[in-house]
């Protein structure tokens, strides 16, 4: 009984703490501007099913993609086992689902195989980071914390899977010995190889089985609470992030409706813009100027670096890294959220996303080629943030290089980005 109470307390505290953290993130995301991304729901479900559930963009890089599918499937399916662990923990039962008989054997066997695949995947991932040192996992934005974060996640996964398999091995050995309440249940295609490594005394086996059981479930609950601080939060946000992703042709950039009203008023003095459409500033200087989907993108990013590895600017040595754009947005948003919690809603710290986090040099290096948005396995859009920062620099500050200013004035005065006379526009068609 006492163990059941302890279990309940641990479980309840873990769930409450996690809920508080998720709420904080949700509040931060809501600091963003409104944007309607609920149109075409059928298509959105399809995109989510394909991209998040189906991992279609992950497998474009086959090795990482297949390993990721192992870990992803393992993570999702082994959660059925976690359900059993929670019920057992709360009610003091043992292997409550074992009444399913043959199907239970199949489930446990499948979990074991998945656990092994997860281990393989995670070890390959570690090797890619620590031994092969793939270029994609380094870069200016990959400072100590992001690198440590990645390794913590992988280490936790190794520990969880090892505990799961060891627990099963001990359980199986106890089943064979006919010890106590260890009834014959489950099949152990992987862990039966481990039985030889375990002691033979039932008391010791029971201790190992219990220790692994507790370690496994506390580990999972701790991991759950690590997610909101980690890039690993993508396992949750990947789904809404793809659902709310941009469905338009990638070449289409948003038309700012606030600008449309002003332009209409300029061209037609009788036009009165709708008053309700009061917007703060044109473009984005700080995170609150971005829309909530862009902010959710930042929390979804798992820093895989596929965007940066295909960015033409980054590949040719420029400062721009789309991954850094996302990481900076998240870091700044976290900072703004903390400031507001500490010093009240209207607190301003005098810092901003542009300049304090993302430099002008970075935003002006972008060719808007959409390689980053195409590469992202969860449809994150760093380009839209770059564009919004440019819009701020141009429309609020008129802070652009002379050559771009010249281009603007040529477009405005000559109807072409170069200084040619509009009357010469048809010169190409002069017959000789």
């Amino acid at each position: 009984m006492i163990t059941q109470i302890i279990f309940f307390l641990i479980f309840a505290i873990a769930v409450v703490l996690f809920t508080i953290q998720v709420k904080k993130i949700s509040q931060n995301i809501k600091l963003g501007r409104d944007i309607n991304r609920s149109d075409h729901p059928t298509e959105r479900w399809k995109v989510m099913a394909k991209v998040a559930l189906g991992q279609t963009k992950m497998v474009r890089r086959p090795i990482a993609g297949i390993m990721h599918i192992f870990v992803y499937l393992g993570f999702i399916i082994i959660n059925i086992e976690v359900l059993e662990i929670i019920i057992d923990g709360l009610f003091g039962t043992h292997r409550i689902f074992s009444f399913l008989g043959g199907f239970y054997n199949f489930l446990i066997g499948a979990f074991e195989i998945l656990a092994l695949l997860v281990l393989i995947g995670v070890i390959v991932f570690m090797a890619r980071r620590l031994i092969l040192r793939l270029k994609r996992f380094s870069g200016v934005e990959m400072t100590a914390w992001p690198k440590a974060d990645a390794l913590y996640i992988l280490i936790i996964e190794v520990l969880l899977m090892t505990a799961f398999l060891t627990m099963n091995a001990a359980d199986y050995k106890l089943q064979l010995a006919g010890f106590g309440h260890y009834i014959h249940a489950g099949s152990f295609p992987v862990s039966h190889f481990l039985t030889g490594l375990l002691p033979n005394q039932p008391e010791k086996l029971e201790l190992i089985e219990r220790a692994c059981w507790w370690f496994h479930i506390i580990g999972i609950l701790a991991f759950l609470n690590y997610l909101p601080y980690s890039k690993h939060f993508h396992i949750i946000l990947a789904f809404p992030n793809t659902w709310y992703s941009n469905l338009n042709n990638k070449g289409k950039f948003t038309n700012m409706s606030s600008v449309t009203n002003e332009v209409k008023a300029m061209l037609d003095p009788s036009f009165t813009p709708p008053a309700a459409d009061a917007v703060g500033r044109f473009g984005a200087k700080d995170v609150q100027d971005l829309n909530w989907v862009q902010l959710m993108n930042a929390y979804t990013c798992t820093e895989c670096g596929r965007c940066t590895s295909v960015c033409p600017a980054n590949q040719t040595g420029k400062l721009l890294s789309p991954r850094k754009i996302m990481m900076d947005t998240r870091d700044r948003l976290e900072e703004v959220g903390k400031n507001k919690a500490k010093n009240g809603k209207d607190y301003e710290d005098g810092k901003s996303l542009l300049d304090d986090y993302i430099s002008r040099e970075e935003i002006w290096a972008c060719t808007t080629c959409n390689a980053c948005t195409d590469a992202c396995p969860v449809n994150i859009d760093p380009l839209s943030i770059i564009l919004d920062l440019r819009r701020y620099a141009v429309m609020e500050e008129s802070n652009v290089t002379g050559s771009l200013n010249a281009m603007f004035s040529n477009v405005e005065n000559n109807g072409a980005p170069w200084k040619y006379s509009p009357t010469d526009r048809l010169n190409w068609a002069k017959t000789e």
Binding site: N249, T316, G317, A393, V394, L404, A416, W428
Partner: protein, 266 residues
């Protein structure tokens, strides 16, 4: 290479004055109008349109920048001013269908004008060329490219931007040539470096220019002809070829020029 151009290109104003209407408006774009090299692409495409008997017209001096470079550089005001002015002109002529040889104009007209009131059917010139090939109106009779190694560089705003990958390749596939893909092609294609208003500014500090990185892909493919379908890619690729002093070995041609050539139009 002397370029002989002897086609009478009608403007919308002339057509209207004569009480006529074209099937399609040829949106030439700024590069196609003013850039010396791109003018040859424009001429080649005008020759194709004339050759197949499509009744077309241009806006001529009434054409204005779509606003694309302003928009990508963050100047939404200027973009929308340009867009509204152009829409007024286009609607004044009751334009329904537009073809353009510039992927940037194509993308902007097709995707960004509708919300501002400009609704047209917009196609890229490679899509029209593909259609004409499928209809048997364009052929591959000239032997100029026979056995030559040809590759295609995807423009971002046609490929990733709008998912058009096959149309530009259609004109190359009917050639009796050795078609090779660059190692980064289609959705993985590498930008030429001109997009996002980069064409109009100096690049930021870095190890090298983007077009040099791209030409290295071309060199690795050992192609003798690089086909492009964007006037900005044309500039960047030619500069890249020059950088490696390969002007004698590697020719950069637009899909329209290749089609015009094999149909005996240039």
């Amino acid at each position: 290479m002397t370029n002989h151009f002897d086609i009478k290109v009608p403007t919308m104003a002339e057509m209207m004055a004569a009480g006529e209407k074209p099937e399609i408006l040829f949106w030439v774009g700024c590069a196609g109008s003013y850039d010396e090299r791109a003018q040859r692409i424009t001429q080649a495409f005008a020759k194709i349109l004339t050759h197949v008997g499509i009744k077309f017209a241009v806006l001529g001096t009434e054409e204005n920048c779509t606003g694309d470079p302003a928009k990508r550089a963050g100047n939404e005001f200027l973009f929308q001013m340009q867009a509204m002015m152009n829409i007024q002109v286009l609607d004044g002529y009751e334009v329904k269908k537009i073809v353009t040889a510039c992927p940037h104009c194509f993308n902007t007209l097709k995707n960004e004008y509708p919300e501002l009131g400009g609704n047209y059917e917009v196609i890229h010139h490679t899509q029209l060329i593909q259609e004409l090939i499928n209809q048997g109106k364009l052929k591959a009779e000239g032997g100029d490219f026979k056995g030559k190694k040809i590759t295609f560089h995807d423009p971002c705003y046609l490929g990733r931007g709008n998912g058009v990958y096959e149309a530009p390749r259609a004109a190359l596939e009917i050639l009796d040539a050795d078609l090779v893909e660059l190692k980064r092609c289609k959705a993985n294609g590498l930008c030429c470096g001109a997009g996002g208003a980069q064409m109009f500014k100096e690049p930021e500090k870095g190890k090298k220019d983007i077009n040099i990185e791209r030409i290295e892909d071309v060199l690795a493919s050992q192609a003798e002809v690089v086909a492009v379908s964007c006037p900005f890619c044309m500039t960047m690729m030619r500069d890249g070829v020059k950088h490696f002093n390969k002007e004698q070995q590697i020719e950069v041609l637009d899909i329209a020029e290749i089609s015009a050539k094999v149909n005996g139009l240039s």
